[in-house]
């Protein structure tokens, strides 16, 4: 009985959150370049966030590979620097992370492009 309640409440919370759709605050950080990324000693990439001029414009903005990298990679582990791997290695690793973190293919490709463009070799 307790488990049934847990599952029902959990399912209701998930459905409610999904239905809320764009009501959640969207991602606001601007695309980052190497220049505006700061690597902290604890390996966190701090992206310079800028307030959007208008909210509707932000809603239409497509996330860049750098932003998606910052959003997804920090979910489970300290971020790995793009320079740590070669472009070919990143391709294999991103396929692994695409599966492990359930990242859609399009987003995975943008992250891969960002990593490869800033890769070590």
């Amino acid at each position: 009985m307790k488990m049934r309640k847990l599952i029902l409440w959990g399912a209701a919370a998930l459905v409610g959150a999904c239905l809320s759709g764009s009501g959640l605050t969207p991602v606001q950080a601007q695309p980052s370049s190497k220049a505006d990324s700061t690597l902290s000693p604890t390996n966190s990439v701090e992206l310079t966030a800028q307030a959007p001029d208008t909210k509707p414009a932000v809603l239409q903005k497509q996330l860049t590979g750098a932003e998606l990298y910052s959003i997804h990679c920090n979910r489970c582990h300290p971020e790995r620097y793009p320079t740590e791997r070669t472009a070919a290695q990143w391709k294999t690793i991103m396929l692994h992370m695409e599966v492990r973190a359930n990242i859609p293919v399009d987003q995975s490709k943008l992250i891969l492009q960002y990593l490869q463009e800033n890769s070590g070799r």
Partner: protein, 454 residues
């Protein structure tokens, strides 16, 4: 006298010259007109010559302008010729040298093999026991990518431990355990769906997929994860569906596996075996240990607000037979959450609930864990040593767990510690665990661990 004669002679000569002048000054009209005509003709000729000269000057100026234009065109032509020559030289040099590396092109190789993983080394001092170095763990993950859509991945766990007799007493020497943590083939079917087959890390919560030593902020597992299987042999469909353009994702995973089994073939409550039933029996025959498969899945919602600020909620569960007779079901449900508030703060946890039938009735077990971590770099203290430190804390508990005296152990545990990041993947973890339990084998302990992710 001589001067006088000279002056007289000059005067006579002057008079002689002056006398014919009136006759010479007289010009006839005819001569005058003729002279006038000559003058007019000369004037006209001068005017003509002047006009001609003006025309010639204009012509000269035009010629000079044309010459300047031609010179400019010649300079342009020479510049173009020079550029073309330079390009030609550069092209020749480029052909002679190896091509410049282009990252995207380099990645077009159609396969790649890699090894990732982690390694840990521990020191443990448990209350009432001698302290000692406790763990030398090497856990590689092998990846083989075949093209753009196929990946084979396998993880191993190699641990050195003391030699042990069959009755559990200490034997001489040491042994090395070598376990297959997971081995799965992944095929990306389309944008939103991936098919996986093999020994799968089960998505009951997220801990089993994020428990590698350098990923976990604590050296040991939360107590409650012992209630659920970490992996299972079977197949799975999974993927992520974007909800809008802001990065929000709906994650799904649905799987079918052999499921847990009984270590004693019967349905005694203590014989539940979550890690067995891998399909290949000890007599080398292939079979499920019970009649039915176990089905399960997870539905997760990932909501990023901006980079490093996100909330993830997940609900997962599985249910299936576990005893050989197929009489009873093992069912598990997990609610997981994770919160990031900036690059320096993270909180996450899970609530786990299980129930399984047995010859002694239903067995209910539950537990939860929650942990937080704060990196002191967020304080901006300009102190390098401090900036590399993360403070961590965890509370976890477990109710009705199998303990040294059988089912019924209830344990609560507080853990406080820190992580020092030598690099982004080399970290030192130090934790002290305060336990409250009715299981006497559960005691307070200090754990120090060096972790490396590669």
């Amino acid at each position: 006298m001589k001067a006088y004669h000279l002056m007289s002679g000059l005067m006579v000569a002057g008079c002689a010259l002056a006398l014919p002048l009136p006759a010479l000054a007289q010009v006839s009209l005819q001569d005058f007109n003729a002279l006038k005509d000559v003058v007019q003709q000369l004037s006209e000729q001068v005017q003509n010559l002047q006009q001609t000269n003006v025309i010639r000057e204009q012509t000269h100026e035009q010629d000079m302008q044309q010459i300047r234009q031609l010179q400019e065109k010649l300079a342009e032509t020479q510049q173009i010729a020079t550029n073309a020559e330079q390009k030609s030289i550069a092209a020749a040099q480029a052909q002679a040298q190896p091509p410049t590396r282009e990252p995207i092109d380099e990645a077009t190789v159609n396969h790649n093999f890699m090894m990732l993983g982690d390694a840990e080394f521990q020191y443990v001092k448990a209350s009432g026991q001698h302290g000692g170095f406790a763990l030398a763990d090497f856990a590689p993950i092998f990846l083989y990518r075949g093209g753009d859509n196929i990946l084979f991945e396998a993880g191993f766990d190699t641990i050195l431990q003391n030699g042990q007799n069959s009755d559990g007493t200490h034997d001489s020497g040491s042994t090395t355990s070598f376990d297959l943590s997971f081995a799965q083939l992944d095929y990306v079917m389309n944008e939103y769906m991936t098919f996986c087959a093999g020994d799968l890390l089960l998505p009951l919560g997220t801990y089993s997929e994020r428990s590698a030593g350098w990923l976990n902020k604590f050296p040991d597992d939360p107590l409650a994860v012992s209630l659920i299987p970490g992996s299972g042999v079977g197949v799975m469909l999974q993927g992520g569906i974007p909800l809008g353009d802001a990065g929000k994702l709906l994650n799904y995973q649905i799987y079918g596996v052999n499921g847990p089994s009984s270590s004693a073939t019967n349905a005694d409550p203590t014989s539940l075996d979550l890690g067995g039933n891998v399909g290949l029996k000890s007599d080398n025959t292939v079979a499920n240990l019970h009649g039915g498969l176990t089905g399960g899945g997870r539905l997760g919602l990932f909501m990023p607000f901006k980079p490093h600020y996100d909330l993830e909620l997940g609900l997962s569960g599985q249910s299936g037979e576990w005893d050989d007779a197929g009489t009873y079901l093992y069912t598990a449900g997990v609610l997981d959450w994770a919160l990031h508030l900036g690059p320096n703060f993270q909180a996450n946890g899970e609530y786990i609930l299980t129930r399984y039938g047995s010859d002694q009735g239903f067995i209910d077990q539950q537990g939860w864990w929650g942990q937080v971590g704060y990196k002191l770099a967020g304080l901006n203290l300009e102190l390098p040593a401090i900036n590399n430190v993360e403070l961590v804390g965890r509370y976890d508990n477990l109710h009705n767990a199998p303990g040294s005296n059988g089912l019924g152990a209830n344990t609560g545990r507080y853990t406080a510690g820190l992580i020092y990041y030598f690099t982004n993947t080399l970290l030192f973890e130090g934790d002290y665990e305060f336990l409250h339990s009715n299981d006497p084998s559960q005691v307070d302990q200090l754990i120090l661990q060096l972790s490396y992710g590669f």
